[in-house]
Symmetry: C2
Subunit: 279 residues, 2 copies
């Protein structure tokens, strides 16, 4: 099968590696607006060849759209205009707007809206890794709007990647990822800025940074070209969660201000409840 990957970065590149390794793709064609990414993706063996968009779409059996979601939203209708038998899947972090962008296309059925729940704070072809996606969840949204054969092919792809499938509508997806992904990134960006603000005065702070700091702040390395569009497209849900998060932080602040350590202990015990969910 020939697979075209549009956007040969962290996700697209990792998917290319996995689909070749599993024998699913005997040819991977790469498309990327950034010439450096094209060169690098060839050097790293992520793709077999680089082609222009239309040629790459027409030559493929499966097209994976793995570019930032604002550009995916614009490009998807054009791609759907080119396809007939091909299957097009996206891998973006929001689902409502991409589904809307496909809704009026005559070829809507060829598109499957998906979101594999895997990523790192790095980006570009060099960030692609082998064995990504394994044992993680992936979401397929609005399955009923896609043709059965298209859904079946995408399910096969995610099965080969070792992911477990979840089905939901785009609205529910976007609320949930605001909680389990988008807010973590905002927290991490804000935490980095909190410390960097102080660094001007205290330049040895960082020698002290240990594992705890590193794990809460590592997402702050994430790429703005990916994340600004996510926060734009999921603005209302992210604002809801951010307001709740600031309210929760204010409870900790009030405990300290009022020296109410009993309530502080209660808040921490409540937070420990996360053990029920994370091993």
């Amino acid at each position: 099968m020939t697979v075209t990957i549009i956007g040969i970065g962290l996700i697209g590149g990792s998917m290319a590696l996995a689909l070749k390794e599993k024998g699913f793709a005997n040819k991977v064609i790469g498309v990327d607006a950034n010439p450096d990414h094209c060169t690098k993706a060839m050097e790293l063996g992520l793709v077999d060849e680089i082609r222009g968009l239309e040629e790459a779409v027409l030559a493929a059996d499966l097209i994976v759209l793995a570019i930032p979601i604002d550009r995916a939203e614009t490009l998807l209708p054009a791609i759907l205009n080119m396809v007939n038998r091909q299957v097009v899947m996206d891998v973006g972090s929001t689902k409502k707007i991409i589904c809307e962008s496909a809704a009026t296309s005559a070829n809507r059925g060829r598109f499957v809206a998906t979101h594999p729940m895997w990523g790192t704070e790095y980006s570009g072809p060099e960030a692609a890794v082998k064995g990504a996606f394994e044992d993680k969840a992936t979401v397929i949204c609005s399955r009923e709007d896609s043709n059965a054969d298209a859904v079946a092919l995408v399910e096969k792809v995610y099965g080969l990647l070792g992911m477990h499938l979840m089905y939901m509508n785009a609205d529910d997806h976007d609320v949930r990822v605001a909680y389990v992904s988008h807010i973590s990134h905002i927290t991490s960006f804000a935490l980095a800025n909190t410390v960097l603000e102080k660094e001007k005065e205290e330049d040895t702070i960082f020698e002290l940074a240990s594992g705890g700091f590193e794990s809460t702040v590592r997402l702050a390395k994430s790429n703005p070209a990916m994340w600004v569009p996510i926060f734009m497209q999921n603005r209302e849900n992210v604002l809801d969660v951010l307001n709740e998060h600031i309210a929760q932080l204010r409870k900790f602040k009030a405990c300290l201000e009022k020296e109410n350590y009993e309530y502080l202990e209660e808040l921490i015990e409540k937070a420990n409840g996360i053990k029920r969910i994370l091993k």
Copy 2:
């Protein structure tokens, strides 16, 4: 050398393992107010024997105080009253109050105030691990208040553990850890509570949780018996940092409310500056 560990949990237990492995301690005596911890520490081979406090202090060459900082503050003067030739070191997360609690003791010189910058979100003897501390920083505070031989012994211990030494006064230490450790914990506790608040309505949220969420929220599993006293003792510094962190989060909130995506991009680019510090 005989080493007495008071508090055989994550830090005390891991230190016991390391000091035996390196051949520094030919006997480790454990003291713990929790009988289950004593039993478990013997079962796990963390300590060679369990004794009462006074007996264990008198039998030791080096005493490591590894209990929550509120109890360490109370116990340290009593321990210093028992010692003569022995060296006493603590490993607590704040340094100002423990130094104050030792200040008036006739044996102040036998005490070395330290803080190894390593930990996990787990606690108790079962949380002890081999190879802890390696390649991390450790702080020695107010070295000038300790006898030279006591400092030299503690430096030897941390050298064996593979830690690199930093020296600072207790006030500076407490400001810095508010930034690189304490705020990360509050953020993580508050993030857990944000999501747990929502879970009542959305019980499938967690199936989606991926690596990013897990890393920002893992510290929320941390033990309140350890953390409430830290926030109490470092209240003013933590409040300063928490106020700054809430202010930083409000900038993200304002960007989303006003749909000011240029400034949002700036904030994220600024946060990316954390790459200069964390690899």
